[in-house]
């Protein structure tokens, strides 16, 4: 099976500041990865680079065996810290528009059904007509996850999915992610709430100063090595 990502000598500089300093890694498919580290460690930059949103200064990224990330972008779901949703439209209206971008109806999928399905999957009501701007932070976060799941991607990149979400909802999200991993998806979760993923993540990736400093099968393994 092709690796989800192969990252070679990845450097990303913003002016003089190097957010990523030569990241080398291979990520096997069908796994749930937790990316951890302090603020400024380079987690979000790495995720954006994997999504093809931040072009590397040096180095290369290949996704599902190709370095032309654009050609496989329909296999990718991305959830950022901001919601990536239009505040003036309802959740369903937002998803209907994004479904058009992925031309899902051309792939034999019914847009309406799929939109409703992913909204229900994140425990929201597809009939909710309120604009997203009037949602609570937690609801917005879940709708953002629904948008990332919409195109049924093979790879999911999630940046801080549990922030501003209550504990019960966060646990529900983790259980949803476990289910998706078991269904064959590769999931990357950037988080500061690592304990939520203990027992769920297959690997914990620790970042410091723009580099991956260790990869451990659980949280305690890292503590033991320190």
């Amino acid at each position: 099976m092709l690796p989800a990502f192969v990252v070679t000598g990845l450097v990303k500089q913003f002016g003089r500041f190097a957010a990523l300093r030569g990241v080398n890694a291979e990520f096997a498919p069908n796994r749930l990865y937790a990316i951890l580290g302090d603020n400024g460690a380079g987690k979000t930059t790495l995720l954006r680079a994997l999504a093809g949103l931040t072009p590397p200064t040096r180095g290369s990224i290949s996704m599902l065996g190709t370095s032309d990330l654009r050609s496989v972008c329909s296999q990718l779901g991305y959830m950022a810290h901001p919601s990536l949703l239009y505040d003036e439209m309802s959740g369903m209206e937002n998803l209907r528009y994004f479904a058009r971008l992925y031309e899902m109806s051309d792939r034999g999928q019914n847009n309406e059904d799929r939109c409703a399905e992913v909204i229900r999957a994140v425990k929201l009501d597809p009939m909710l007509t309120r604009p997203v701007g009037q949602y609570s932070q937690g609801m917005r976060q879940r709708m953002s996850l629904a948008r990332a799941l919409l195109n049924d991607p093979k790879i999911l990149l999630l940046d801080e999915p549990f922030s501003n979400v209550d504990l019960r909802s966060a646990r529900e999200m983790v259980s949803l992610l476990k289910g998706l991993r078991d269904a064959g998806k590769t999931i990357f979760v950037v988080t500061h709430q690592a304990s939520l993923l203990e027992g769920a993540a297959d690997e914990f990736i620790w970042m410091e100063a723009g580099q991956i400093v260790s990869r451990t099968p659980n949280l305690t393994a890292r503590t033991e090595t320190q």
Binding site: A51, G52, L53, T54, P55, R70, C73, S74, L76, Y78, A80, P82, S83, L84, L85, Y86, D87, E88, M89, E93, Y97, F98, R100, L101, Y102, E103, P131, R147, N151
Partner: protein, 225 residues
Amino acid sequence: MSRVASLTRATLAKDLRLEWRSKDAINSMLFFSLLVVVIFSFSFDPTAEESRRIAGGLVWVAFLFAAVVALNQTWSREMRNQVLDAYRISPAPPNALFLAKVIGNFIFVTVLQALMTPLFIVFYNLRALGPAYQLPIVAALGTWALVVNGTFFAAMSLRTRSREIMLPLLLFPISIPALLAMVEATGAILTGEFSARFWIVLLAAYDVVFTIASLFLFGLVLQAE
């Protein structure tokens, strides 16, 4: 091609819906143009003859400045919540987004023109002495020239720190040939002193060149950091 057309329609429908709900662009444009009409009419109080000579410049400068408001709104809506990133990682072609934005802005500015033209006629006592049927052609070509460049440069200045200032700085110099053609053509039609044909052809050529160039380059602008 049908894919671009279908996604252009979807994005345009979304933009029109957002504008219908917020009315951000149209309200600011209307208010701005109204101010220009009223202030200039009180400041100069021109005769009908003088009006015909200066109206071309006045009308187009008002629409140009008003259009800048709409152009900034178009992209700032995409930057809120970083929605543009969702488009960037989708397989949708960049040109569909660009065309939808251009057509959307064209509609907004045309609505503004439709609302403001009667006021210009009343306040400046305007009556065309030349072939009036050419006025809508000049309006359509001129508006397209403004919005195609404006949409492109607004996207370019999107990530700059002071984009409200950057847009006019980039847009106005490159729009000078089009603006000159619009003003001269409008003046020619209103006064009836000379033919507007040359200026209309110039405007059409300008539109074709800049539309093609913008479509070619927009992909780079969209994927730029």
